[in-house]
Amino acid sequence: MAEEDTMAKYMLIMRGTDESNAAVMAGFEELAPKTYHFIEELTKAGVFVAAEGLDDPGQGVVVDVSGEAPVVTDGPYGETKELFGGYFLLDVASKEEAVEWAKRVPSVAGAKIEVRRVAGDDEMPPGMEGSVEELARSESTGRI
């Protein structure tokens, strides 16, 4: 429970290949309840924030805004072998804990999971000394 690690959000990014995506679809009936159970585990551990799966990358659209006018093309982005297929967003105490959960994600051969820390100031910053006065005052004036 190191200070700099407290209350950090991590995203487990599902990176499937065409083969693993096909395997997921083929084994969906078996995988779905496992995934449901996994989310239940995350919820009971108090670390679950959100999870979503993405539709078939072939149904996607890429909007290229790097030029003067946006260019819209059908299909997945680039020629990548590994595609972003969905994510789990977790609120955990450390990167190691995020990795430990990632190891437990129900999956299929060929799939990979990227673990990334969510940046931004919606985390609790460390060292918020002095807030006691603010809180005491807010309380005394009914503002909390």
């Binding site: 429970m1 200070e3 407290t6 209350m7 239940e40 919820t43 009971k44 551990a45 108090g46 670390v47 679950f48 924030v49 609120d91 105490a93 450390s94 990167k95 190691e96 804990e97 990795v99 430990e100 959960w101 100031d121 919606d122 985390e123 609790m124 910053p125 460390p126 060292g127 918020m128 000394e129 002095g130 807030s131 006691v132 006065e133 603010e134 809180l135 005491a136 005052r137 807010s138 309380e139 005394s140 004036t141 009914g142 503002r143 909390i144």
Partner: protein, 404 residues
């Protein structure tokens, strides 16, 4: 595997391991000791050879240690008959019972035979998986103090013969309020420390939120559990805006509301909806007040009438002079200072908050708004004399001086 990896597995698994062991052995203290021994062994052996199934390794090792301890005890006492406990080894973990086990663990850790300090220490240690060092650091007490609280707590539970089981339905509601208040004590200690130089301990506030989420997942039909979770989420949502860059506390009216954690607000609102199925209890009502602030773009545009109504309701279900004082401030915002002053004066007449600087602080501000400057100044000076906090006192004195 590094120490951090061991800690990560322990964090995820500790409550279930201790809970399952307690059920196997019927001895809460023994289970906790055995689990601690297992994690100590993991810290030594995993860096050399990581197990394929870390959670299973911890459970198996803890179970062996528990059995060793039982053997030692029975040998010491010469009661070999107790060896009959051995079939425990063959027992497999029943996953359907784990949830109830963890819940029973929370009720055991927060048992009313324990002091509040022991309840807090045991909950953080046994359910949260925190070490004595982490708990000591969070509460700014020496490590031996935490260890003593935990040891005494376990002995008290054993001496009182507290059974390891979920309380009966009729008893649960009553006991649950104790569990909720322990979680809330941990949260408030994390968001506003009662002593020491580090005044906010986000790690502790986070641990409380995690415990509240776990409780909400295990007891989805108890509205007040969701109410407590909502209150914690909505309060913690403001943490990022509570200090300006140089570390000075920022008042609610001056906070940059864009910096509030909006995903925490959304989670808090969701929990509040679940809390309001059968009318709000004390935690739900406080959460509803926090939600009213959270959904307002500014102090001026806050729905103060709604906050007044919520404080009135809170005053009925959980009467306290502080609630009454807060209601007075909300009334001042909604309907003007004169009505609020009447509430404050009644609190003073009944001597409901003796010696507190809060009453004269609020009275002074109300009198200021009413233009009764000499009286306001006297109240603020009185408040400053009663106030124990240096920084707050200087604010009060500055305000008083401005009224001359």
């Amino acid at each position: 595997m590094s120490t951090a990896d061991v800690e990560a597995v322990w964090r995820i698994e500790s409550a279930r391991i201790v809970a399952a062991l307690t059920r196997f052995t019927g001895d809460f203290g023994l289970a906790e000791d055995a689990a601690q021994e297992a994690v100590a062994e993991a810290l030594v052996s995993w860096p050399r050879a990581a197990p394929a199934d870390p959670a299973g390794w911890l459970m198996a090792t803890a179970r062996r240690r528990a059995i060793d301890a039982i053997r030692r005890r029975t040998t010491l006492k010469g009661k070999y008959a107790l060896m009959a406990v051995d079939p425990v080894v063959e027992d497999e973990i029943d996953p359907d019972r784990i949830d109830d086990d963890v819940l029973a663990l929370m009720f055991t850790s927060c048992h009313p035979v324990l002091s509040r300090e022991a309840q807090v220490a045991l909950t953080l240690r046994v359910v949260g998986g925190l070490s004595s060092e982490e708990i000591a650091r969070a509460f700014l007490v020496p490590v031996p103090t935490v260890q003593a609280r935990i040891t005494r707590g376990k002995k008290t539970i054993a001496a009182a013969g507290v059974p390891f089981e979920l309380p009966a339905a009729y008893e649960r509601r009553e006991r649950l309020s104790g569990v909720l208040s322990v979680v809330y004590v941990i949260f408030t200690e994390g968001s506003t420390a009662t002593s020491g130089d580090r005044l906010v301990r986000p790690d502790l506030a986070y641990e409380a939120i995690r415990l509240a989420r776990t409780l909400a997942a295990l007891l989805p039909d108890e509205p007040e559990v969701h109410g407590l979770l909502a209150l914690c989420e909505l309060t913690a949502a403001r943490f990022p805006a509570r200090l300006d860059p140089d570390g000075t506390p920022v008042l609610l009216e001056d906070q940059d509301r864009r910096r509030w954690d909006h995903s925490a607000i959304r989670r808090g609102m969701d929990a509040l909806v679940k809390a309001s199925t059968r009318g709000l209890g004390p935690y739900g009502l406080q959460a509803a007040i926090a939600a009213t602030h959270a959904s307002a773009p500014s102090v001026e545009e806050t729905d103060w009438d709604r906050i007044v109504v919520l404080y009135e309701a809170l005053g009925r279900v959980a009467p306290s002079p502080v609630v009454e004082l807060n209601r007075a401030v909300a009334v001042a915002m909604a309907s003007g200072p004169a009505q609020a002053l009447a509430i404050v004066d009644e609190l003073i007449a009944l001597d409901r908050l003796p010696g507190s600087h809060l009453l004269p602080t609020v009275r002074g501000e109300l009198l200021t708004r009413l233009g009764r400057r000499p009286e306001a100044r006297a109240e603020l000076e009185l408040a400053a004399r009663l106030c124990a906090n240096q920084r707050e006192r200087s604010v009060l004195l500055r305000k008083a001086a401005a009224l001359t």
